[in-house]
Structures are given as C-alpha cells and as structure tokens.
Amino acid sequence: MPLRLVAEDVSVARGGRLLFEGVGFVADAGDLVELRGANGSGKTSLLRAIAGFLRPRAGRIAFEGVEEPPLALHYLGHLNALKGAASVRSHLSHWLGLFGGGIDEDVALERVGLTRQAKLPARVLSQGQGRRLSLARLLIAPRPIWLLDEPAAALDVEGRAMLCRLIDAHRAEGGLVVAAVHDVLGPTPSQTLQIGATT
C-alpha cells in the first residue's frame, strides 16, 4: 500500500474546550500540508493528535502503507528537546540510538550547518542554532512522515533556505510533511488547511 495519511472529521478539545471540529485531509507521498490559523486556533494540538500524543475527541486519524507511529513519524514541536549539558554531537548519537540508525552524524551536522559547533554543549547554542540541531533529528533516522510545528522559527535567511531544501528532498524521496506555519514556508504546499477559520 502506498504511503498515505488520512484525517477524517477530527475534533480536538483541550481542557474541556472544543478547539475545532470536522477537520479532515488526505495526504499522499510527496505532499506538503500546510496548517494555518490564528494563534490558539489549534495547529499544535492537531499535530500532537496526529503524532498520537493526545487523543482527538472525535474523528479518525489513520496511516496507510507504514507501520503505526511511533515508527513512521518525526515530530518537531515548539520545544527543541535539547539537554544543555550534553554536546551537540552527543545529541545526534542519542537520537541515532533512540530512533534506530540512519545517516551518519557528521553528515547530518553538516547539512544543518552545525559542523563547527559539534563539540559545544547545547546550552551555549543561540536560539537559531538550537533549532537547527533539532532539525538534524529529522535527518538522523529516515521516517516517512514529518510533523513540523513552525519549523522556520528562529532560523536565519540561510537557515530557511536550508529548511526548504530538506523538505523538498524529503518530498522527492516519497516522504510526507505536515507543517504548521504563519508566514510563507518556501516549498509550494500541495494543500493548505485553515484551522478554526469559522470562529
């Protein structure tokens, strides 16, 4: 079965309040689904529901052509999952072990532009450098589905170009990306989903 992510009539509630209902989309290999919406409309909540972290109040989220998560997806949230005392390189070897092998650590570092910071503790990274390190996680273990929450946050101009290249390459290899964004991400989305537009 080919890769496909289906969301049908999904409603998500947080703290007893319904955020949105009836959201649905179908994404195939090579697709980029952009989630848009005002602050607090529920983009992050939808991504977390897809990742399986929170249970939607109604609706169905299904994966075709892959193992169920956790094996099929990467989640890049607002938080970078970095440990200040650990070095940049040790983060990569940690993720390599956690997710099961993929490309070499040095290659990943080079692609996100952190080669020279490899030995620094994550604590001293600047905001954008931290984001880049978190992006390297996507490369370390190849997984077909990427869930990206404002991936361009804190990246400089060159970093955004790098992110575009990563996403394009992932799509070209048959991957699938769902990204919550506010401004223009770069790669042309195959569809744009407006969250909470009705209110």
């Binding site: 977390r48 999952a81 440990k83 005392a85 040790s90 070897s93 940690h94 390599l96 997710f99």
Partner: protein, 216 residues
C-alpha cells in the same frame, strides 16, 4: 547502540558530570551529620538511634534526585521524542532508573559505610548495611519512578513527590533499619531483595503509563 543503551548513557552522563554523584553523596553525608548534631553528644543514645537514621538519610537523598527526573524531559520536549522511539516507553523509563541507580544509588550505598560508622554502628555490620542499602536504593528508585512520573507536570513538585513516595518507602526502611540494628539480617536482606525486584519490575510500567498521560 540500542535505545535502552543511549538512554542509560545520556542519563548517567548528565547525572555524573558536573559533580552529579558527588552532590547526593554530600547530601547524604550532610544529613547523617545533622543527626548527631541535633541529638547531642550522648554516645549511648546515638548508638541506639543512629544506624537506622542512615536509612532515612539515604531515602531522602535519593528522593532529592528524583524530582527533576521526568520533569526536565517534559519541559524540554525530550519526553515527546521518547514516545516516538520504537523501544517501549517502559524500557526507556527502566533505563533512566538504572542510570540513576548506577550514578547515585550505588555511590550512596558505598557511602553508607562511613556514615554507619560515624553513627556508631558495629563494624561487623557494615558490609550488610552496604548490601542492604544497595538493594534498598533499587527499591526506592523503582517506587520513586512512579512518583516522579505522576508529579512531572507540577512545578516545584519536589515536595509533592516526597509526600507521594515516602509512604511507599516505609517497608524497605523498616527492614533496612533492622539490618542496620543487626536484627535478623539474612531474612531482612531477602525481603529487601524482594522489594527491589518488585519495584523495579512494576515501577517502570506504572511510570510509563503516567508519562503517556503527561504528554497530552
């Protein structure tokens, strides 16, 4: 390396580096030092009351390290990533507990020797005290994982976790203190081993269930 191995390695390294293991040791020795300070220089009293207090100090020392065990992972997003690993969350939680035992529990058990001597325990008992502490630490950590997991989202949860976990610490403390007082040493050690086994088997399962809820 496997997900278990990297989780163990990272946690061990984070706890060990930066004087990590030194600090609980200092806490332990500091706390055992406070006991005679508070109790005054009465030798006979100390000999009777002191050795069991090694256990209380050890329990409080390991408790102090538990607080941030999962809270840090929750706050920086590392918990999300643990849930996306092919390895079951239970296994990763167990790895964190094992790292805690190696980085803090085992050194604490060894430090039990000088502490017991300072609190006037008979010398012949010291090896049994160290062995019992090593087992007791495993039991404490197994139980503590659950407390740490359920309080992970509570800021300043350190005291709350104490409230939740300390009652469960009672059985190992009772038997451990018996060892320190030289009563029924073998059977107490066996019971401690049982506590440790049970806690290490069940603790990670319950903790992982709690953590899944925290991720919402």
């Amino acid at each position: 390396m496997s997900a278990f191995a990297v989780t163990f390695r990272r946690d061990f390294a984070l706890m060990w580096s930066g004087g990590g293991a030194l600090a609980p040791l200092g806490y332990f020795l500091g706390a055992t030092m406070l006991v005679p300070l508070a109790m005054g220089p009465d030798r006979a009293l100390l000999a009777a009351a002191g050795p069991p207090l090694v256990w209380i100090a050890a329990a409080l020392a390991v408790l102090a390290t538990l607080e941030r065990l999962f809270q840090a992972d929750l706050e920086d997003g590392a918990l999300d990533q643990m849930m996306l690993s092919p390895a079951p969350l239970e296994v990763l939680v167990f790895a964190k507990g094992a790292a805690l035992w190696c980085a803090v529990g085992a050194p604490l058990a060894l430090a039990g020797a000088p502490a017991a001597i300072a609190l006037q325990a008979p010398l012949a008992l010291v090896p049994a005290v160290v062995a019992s502490l090593a087992l007791g630490m495993a039991a404490f950590i197994g139980m503590g994982l659950v407390g740490a997991a359920v309080t992970a989202s509570v800021k300043r949860g350190g005291v709350l976790i104490a409230l939740i976990v300390l009652p469960f610490f009672a059985p190992p403390i009772i038997f451990g203190a018996a060892v320190a007082q030289g009563e029924a040493v073998t059977s107490a050690l066996l019971i401690l081993a049982g506590c440790a086994l049970g806690a290490c088997a069940l603790g990670p399962i319950a903790a992982a269930a709690a953590l899944r809820l925290q991720a919402e």
